[in-house]
C-alpha cells in the first residue's frame, strides 16, 4: 500500500485555509432547509399578535378547507404529546419554573408565541392557510418593565405563580470565604462610585434561520435541526416527551451560525416533533427572518447597579453588583443561568478584596432571553470596564493608570479572586503595552487635548477595555454547585482506518467555527499524519454518540483536550504493535513525527499507518493486543481558561449631530497558544464587530403593548462592513496551564472586550462637556441629547439611563 509521502511539519500554529469554507461559502452543502423527504408536509405556525391574552377559542377548520392543507392543530390538540419546554438551570431552590408548552394552550404571554399549526403539501399553502385560522383572545394586562414587574401589586405574567420574581441569587465573598465584606468596604471607602448601566436587549442575527425536519418513519425518529446542540436536543426531547432516547436520532447538518441563538431547544423543534409523531409523516418547519426576530430567544437585557469602593489613590477595595435580569415570559434552556456566568466576571482582572453579587430574574411579557455570544460575560465586562473609566474620571486619573494600579500582576498567578475562581495565567501589562504601542496612545491623547482646547466640532475619544473572560464550559463540579443539570465534559474518538487515514469524531458541534480544520491540525500533529488524512465527523448522534456540543468557547478548550487525549491513547495502543513489528521491546520505542523509532537506531521505524494495517489484518499481533487502535476519551476540565487582552478604541464624535465614527480600533488578545491564527483572527474580527454592534447600533424595542418594533433588519440596525472600522489585531501568548496545548478559547473574546471599549471612547470624547454616560446603543440622537443635557446643566441622561430614544 501507499501512504501519503509528505514530510510532517507542525500543523498547530499554521494558517490553514479552512477545509469547510468552499462548501459553506458557496452554500453547496446540506442545510436543514435543503432536505426534502417523500411525503413530507410543510408546517407553518400561527403566532400570537397579543403580548398577554387568554385564548378563548381557536378554530382551525377554515384552514383545513383550504387547498393543499393536510392537517391543522392547536395546543389543546397536542397537549399530551407535545411535552414541555425544559429549563435545565434553575439557580436556586425556589426558582419559579412556569409551565412552558411549545404550543400555547390557554394563554399567550408574549407576541410571537405559537398558537396553532398548519401542515400542508407546500410552504406557501401552509402560510396561506394561517390567515384563515380564527383565534379569540381576551386581553390581559401587559408587564414589560422589570422594575414595574417587581413592584407590589404588579400585574403578573404567570398569575398562578403569584410573583414576577423568577429567582434571586447571591454571591458574597465574605460568606463564601473568598474575600472580605463588600458592604464594610463601602462603609470604609474613601471614594464610592455608584452607577447604573443598562444592557439593552439584543437579537441574535445568525445567517441561517432556525429550521427543523422530523422523519418519524424509521426505527429511530430522525430530527435534522439547525442547532448548536444536537446531543442536548436528543436528550431533552427524550426527557420531555417520554420518547425513549435510543429511539431518537438528531442531526445538525451544516449550520449557518448561532452566536448562542441556537443554544436552545426550541418550541418549533418540539412542535415539529409532535406533528411528525401525530401524523406519522415527515414534516419540515423553516422560520422566516421575522419569526427569528420575534420568537427566537433574545439576549442581554439587564439593569446593572454597580458600586465600587476605593481609596483616594485609586486602589479598589470592594465591588457590589445588584443585577436585574429580564427573563422574558418563559425560561429557555439556560435563561436564568446566563447572569450566573457573569457573576464570576464582574471583578474582571482586578484585585478586589471584597465582592458581593445580588441577582434577580424577572418575568415580563416579552420574548425569552437566553445565551447570546458571551452570555453573561459581556454584560459583566461592560459594567466593570465602564466603571473603571468612571472611577478614573472621578479621581482625575488616566483610565489605564487606574487599571494598572489594580490589575493582577503577571507574577501573582495563579490568582484566587474574591468571586471564587482561580485565574491560572495571564500577563495584562504585556497585552496593554502592546496595544498602546499599536494604537499610538499618547499621540491620540495629545490630539484629544488639542481638539478639546480648540473646541472642535468633532471631538476625539479614547476607550479602554482590559478584559478577561472565563471559557471552556465547564468543570462539571462547578456546574453542579451552580445547579446546572448537566456536566461540562467533552468527548472525542479517533478511528484509525486500515490505510492509515484517520476519522476524528467530536462531540462538539461546529456551526461556522472551523472545527474540521482545527481538529485536523491537532490530530495531524498528535498522530504524525498529514492534515489531509484526517476527517472530522460531528453533529449526528449516530456517529458522534456522545458530546455536549458547542457554546461558551468550550470546543477547543474542552473538546480539544478530549481529542488530544484520544490521540495519545491511539499512540499508546499502537506502541506494542510497532514493537512487535520491529521486534523490540515497547519501552525501546519513541514516537516522533508519526513513526515509532528504536531509540539509538533511527533507521528502523514503523509508522502509525503500518500499525493500523497490521491491526486491520491482525494476522500477527502480540499476545493480549486487541484488533483495534481506535480510542475514545472524555475530558472534564478542572478549571476554566481565562483569555484576556486589551482593546483600545478611538472614536470621533460629531457634537452637532451626535454621530459616532470609530477612527481606529486595536485588539491585542491573549488566547493562549493558537492552533490556527487565521481562524483566531476571524473570530476576533467577528466578535469585535458584534460588540461594536451592541455599543452603537442594535437594540430590540417593544412598544407599550408589547409589540416588537424592531422586527425586521430595517428597524433592527445591524452594521455592515461599511459601518465598521479596520481592526488592528495582535496577540500575546501566555499558555493556559491546564490545557495540553496551552489553548484557551476565542469564540467570544472580541464581543466581550469591545462593547465597553467603544462606549468608553464615546463618553471620553464628551466628558469635558459634562457627559458621564450614554446609554447603549449610542445612537446619534442619544449622544446629541447627552450633550444637550450636559450643556443645559440638566441632570445627565447618564446614570438613570434616560428614556428612549
Amino acid at each position: 500500500m501507499t501512504v501519503t509521502e509528505e514530510p510532517h511539519t507542525g500543523e498547530v500554529g499554521r494558517d490553514r485555509h479552512r477545509k469547510e469554507d468552499a462548501r459553506l461559502i458557496t452554500g453547496r452543502t446540506m442545510w436543514t432547509e435543503n432536505l426534502s423527504l417523500p411525503g413530507m408536509m410543510h408546517l407553518a405556525i400561527l403566532r400570537s399578535p397579543m403580548a398577554h391574552a387568554r385564548i378563548t377559542n381557536v378554530d382551525v377548520s377554515p384552514a383545513l378547507r383550504m387547498s393543499g392543507v393536510a392537517e391543522a392543530f392547536t395546543g389543546r390538540d397536542v397537549a399530551d404529546l407535545q411535552g414541555a419546554m425544559p429549563c435545565v438551570w434553575p439557580p436556586s431552590d425556589d426558582t419559579v419554573l412556569p409551565a412552558y408548552p411549545p404550543l400555547a394552550v390557554d394563554e399567550v404571554r408574549h407576541t410571537g408565541e405559537p398558537v396553532a399549526v398548519v401542515a400542508a403539501r407546500d410552504r406557501a399553502s401552509a402560510l396561506d392557510a394561517l390567515e384563515a385560522i380564527e383565534v379569540d383572545y381576551e386581553p390581559l394586562p401587559v408587564v414589560l418593565d422589570m422594575e414595574a414587574a417587581l413592584a407590589d401589586g404588579a400585574d403578573l405574567v404567570h398569575a398562578d405563580q403569584g410573583t414576577n420574581r423568577c429567582f434571586t441569587w447571591t454571591l458574597d465573598s465574605a460568606a463564601a470565604g473568598t474575600g472580605d465584606d463588600a458592604r464594610r468596604a463601602e462603609a470604609d471607602a474613601e471614594v464610592l462610585v455608584k452607577r447604573r448601566y443598562i444592557q439593552q436587549r439584543l437579537i441574535p442575527a445568525f445567517m441561517e434561520p432556525r429550521s427543523v425536519v422530523v422523519d418519524p418513519t424509521g426505527e429511530q425518529i430522525t430530527v435534522w435541526s439547525a442547532t448548536q446542540v444536537p446531543h442536548i436536543l436528543r436528550l431533552l426531547l427524550a426527557m420531555s416527551t417520554g420518547m425513549p432516547e435510543h429511539k431518537i436520532r438528531v442531526i445538525a447538518p451544516d449550520v449557518g451560525g448561532g452566536f448562542g441563538g441556537k443554544l436552545q431547544v426550541t418550541p418549533e423543534e418540539f412542535i415539529a416533533f409532535a406533528a411528525a409523531r401525530k401524523f406519522g409523516r415527515p414534516v419540515k418547519f423553516v422560520e422566516s427572518r421575522s419569526e427569528t426576530m420575534l420568537s427566537g430567544h433574545h439576549g442581554r437585557d439587564q439593569i446593572q447597579d454597580i458600586t465600587v469602593s476605593a481609596r483616594n489613590d485609586g486602589t479598589v477595595t470592594g465591588l457590589s453588583v445588584d443585577l436585574k435580569v429580564n427573563m422574558g415570559a418563559y425560561l429557555g434552556i439556560i435563561t436564568p443561568g446566563i447572569p450566573l456566568l457573569g457573576a464570576f466576571m464582574f471583578n474582571g482582572i482586578y484585585r478586589f478584596p471584597a465582592y458581593r453579587f445580588d441577582c434577580t430574574g424577572v418575568f415580563t411579557n416579552t420574548t425569552k432571553t437566553d445565551a447570546y455570544r458571551g452570555a453573561g460575560r459581556p454584560e459583566a465586562t461592560f459594567a466593570i470596564e465602564r466603571m473603571m473609566d468612571d472611577l478614573a474620571a472621578e479621581l482625575d486619573m488616566d483610565p489605564l493608570e487606574v487599571r494598572r494600579k489594580n490589575w493582577i500582576e503577571h507574577d501573582q498567578f495563579p490568582y484566587a479572586t474574591a468571586a471564587g475562581l482561580t485565574y491560572d495565567s495571564g500577563d495584562y501589562a504585556a497585552a496593554t503595552d502592546r496595544a498602546m504601542d499599536l494604537f499610538g496612545y499618547h499621540d491620540l491623547r495629545r490630539e484629544q487635548r488639542e481638539r478639546r482646547e480648540a473646541g472642535d466640532r468633532v471631538q476625539l475619544g479614547i476607550g479602554v477595555s482590559t478584559y478577561t473572560e472565563m471559557c471552556g464550559l465547564a468543570p462539571s463540579r462547578i456546574l453542579g454547585q451552580l445547579r446546572y443539570a448537566a456536566g461540562g465534559w467533552e468527548n472525542a474518538s479517533v478511528r484509525m482506518l486500515p490505510t492509515g487515514k484517520v476519522e476524528v469524531v467530536t462531540g462538539t458541534s461546529p456551526h461556522g467555527q472551523g472545527h474540521e480544520t482545527a481538529w485536523s491540525q491537532i490530530a495531524a500533529d498528535q498522530l504524525g499524519v498529514p492534515f489531509d488524512d484526517v476527517e472530522v465527523l460531528h453533529g449526528d448522534t449516530r456517529t458522534s454518540h456522545k458530546g455536549l456540543d458547542t457554546y461558551g468557547s468550550r470546543s477547543l478548550a474542552v473538546g480539544g483536550i478530549a481529542l488530544v487525549n484520544a490521540c495519545r491513547k491511539v499512540v499508546d495502543k499502537a506502541r506494542p504493535v510497532a514493537a512487535h513489528l520491529l521486534e523490540c521491546d515497547p519501552s525501546d520505542l519513541e514516537f516522533v513525527d508519526g513513526a515509532y523509532r528504536v531509540k539509538g537506531s533511527p533507521g528502523s521505524a514503523k509508522t502509525l499507518a503500518d500499525c493500523a494495517l497490521a491491526v486491520f489484518s491482525s494476522h500477527d499481533l502480540p499476545e493480549g493486543v486487541e484488533s483495534s487502535l481506535d480510542a475514545d476519551a472524555t475530558y472534564d476540565p478542572e478549571n476554566f481558561s481565562y483569555p484576556h487582552g486589551t482593546h483600545l478604541c478611538a472614536t470621533e464624535v460629531d457634537t452637532e449631530t451626535g454621530r459616532v465614527s470609530i477612527r481606529s480600533y486595536v485588539a491585542v488578545d491573549d488566547v493562549g497558544r493558537v492552533i490556527n491564527p487565521m481562524i483566531v483572527e476571524g473570530q476576533v474580527h467577528g466578535g469585535v464587530a458584534q460588540g461594536i454592534a451592541q455599543a452603537l447600533f442594535e437594540e430590540a424595542v417593544y412598544d407599550d403593548d408589547g409589540n416588537l418594533l424592531t422586527g425586521t433588519f430595517v428597524d433592527y440596525t445591524i452594521p455592515s462592513s461599511a459601518d465598521l472600522p479596520a481592526i488592528v489585531t495582535d496577540r500575546t501568548e501566555t499558555p493556559a496551564l491546564e490545557h495540553p496545548l496551552g489553548a484557551k478559547g476565542v469564540g467570544e473574546a472580541g464581543t466581550i472586550a469591545s462593547t465597553p471599549a467603544v462606549v468608553n471612547a464615546v463618553v471620553d470624547a464628551l466628558r469635558h462637556l459634562g457627559v458621564s454616560d450614554v446609554r447603549m446603543p449610542c445612537t446619534p440622537e442619544r449622544v446629541w441629547r447627552a450633550i444637550q443635557d450636559a450643556r443645559d446643566g440638566a441632570a445627565h441622561v447618564a446614570h438613570e439611563g434616560g428614556e428612549r430614544p
Binding site: D128, F697, V701, V714, T717, S720, E781, R804
Partner: protein, 284 residues
C-alpha cells in the same frame, strides 16, 4: 415569507401596461424594480390581485437629452443613472443622491421611477425631484399628462397617481451653473435617511442668485424648505449667511418619531444638515 397568490402580467408597452392596470382594477400593483413591492408582498403587507410587471417596457428605460431638460425613463435603474453621463453633466444632484440609495444590489434592480412613485418620504429621490422642480409624465386611460413635483406627492406612500395611472418618465430641467449637494444622515450605511437634504444653489458675483432646498423624511411627503430659499436669495454666499438661512430648514415641517429618531431630533438635524448641504453646494 411567501407572497399571497396574485395574477401576473408582463406588458411590453406603456399603453398595454395602462390597459393591464385598468383591467386589474383597484387592487392591481405596478412592479418596477421590486425593491419595495417584493418585500411588502413577502411580508403580506400588500396583497394585490394583479401584478403588472414593467420589465419588458423598454420605452420607459434610459435618459435622453431634450433641450433644456433631461427626460429620465421611469424604469431606468439607479445603477444606470449613476453611470449616465447626461445625468452627471446636467443633474448631478440626482447622481449624488442615487449613490446613497441602499446598497449596490438594490441599485442594480431598483428604478428611478419606482422610488418616486412609491413616495416613501424616507426615500432619497422624492426630495431631489422636488428640489429640481421636476415634472412627472403620467400615462392613464384618458391619455398623458404632466404633473409638477409640487403636486405629485400627496401623502405618506401616496401620489396623484390613480390605480390605473403609470409614471412613464420624469422631466428634469438642466441646471447649468448651479452647485448641488445631497446630504444624507442615516444610522447604518444601508438604511433609509433619518433626514436628508437636497440642495441646489446658483451663485452670482459672490451672492446667492437662486437656491432650492428640499428635505427627506421631514414629513409625509418631501418638504421644500421655502423659508431657507427665501432667506438665501440675494444674500452673500458666506458661511454665516448660509448658516443663518439653514436655521429655518425645519420651519413648518412635521416629521414623525420612530425608534431611530424623535421628531425633535429630526428638526435639529434638518438645520445642521441643511447648513452642510448649502455649504457643499454653494459655499464660498
Amino acid at each position: 415569507m411567501i407572497p399571497a397568490a396574485f395574477d401576473y402580467t408582463r406588458p411590453s408597452g406603456v399603453d398595454e401596461a395602462v390597459g393591464a392596470l385598468r383591467d386589474g382594477g383597484e387592487d392591481a400593483k405596478v412592479l418596477a424594480g421590486g425593491q419595495s413591492l417584493i418585500p411588502m408582498l413577502r411580508m403580506r403587507l400588500a396583497s394585490p390581485t394583479t401584478v403588472v410587471d414593467l420589465g419588458d417596457v423598454t420605452e420607459m428605460r434610459g435618459v435622453r437629452d431634450d433641450g433644456d431638460a433631461l427626460v429620465i425613463g421611469a424604469m431606468t435603474t439607479h445603477d444606470e443613472i449613476l453611470h449616465d453621463p447626461l445625468v452627471h453633466e446636467h443633474a448631478p444632484l440626482i447622481a449624488q443622491a442615487t449613490e446613497t440609495v441602499a446598497d449596490r444590489q438594490v441599485r442594480h434592480l431598483g428604478t428611478f421611477g419606482g422610488s418616486l412613485a412609491h413616495a416613501d418620504p424616507a426615500g432619497d429621490l422624492p426630495s431631489v425631484a422636488s428640489a429640481l422642480d421636476a415634472t412627472f409624465e403620467v400615462a392613464g386611460p384618458s391619455g398623458r399628462r404632466s404633473v409638477p413635483a409640487s403636486e405629485f406627492f400627496v401623502d405618506y406612500l401616496t401620489t396623484v397617481l390613480e390605480p390605473d395611472d403609470l409614471l412613464v418618465s420624469v422631466r428634469v430641467p438642466k441646471l447649468t451653473g448651479w452647485g448641488t449637494h445631497y446630504e444624507k444622515f442615516n444610522r447604518v450605511a444601508q438604511a433609509w435617511a433619518l433626514v436628508g437634504v437636497a440642495a441646489a444653489v446658483r451663485r452670482s458675483n459672490g451672492s446667492v442668485a437662486e437656491a432650492r432646498v428640499a428635505l427627506t423624511n421631514m414629513g409625509p411627503t418631501p418638504v421644500r424648505a421655502y423659508g431657507v430659499e427665501d432667506a438665501l436669495t440675494g444674500t452673500a454666499a458666506t458661511e454665516d449667511s448660509l448658516a443663518a438661512a439653514a436655521q429655518r430648514a425645519a420651519d413648518g415641517a412635521e416629521p414623525s418619531s420612530d425608534p431611530s429618531a424623535s421628531a425633535e431630533y429630526r428638526m435639529h438635524l434638518a438645520t445642521v444638515l441643511t447648513r452642510r448641504a448649502l455649504q457643499a453646494a454653494g459655499g464660498a
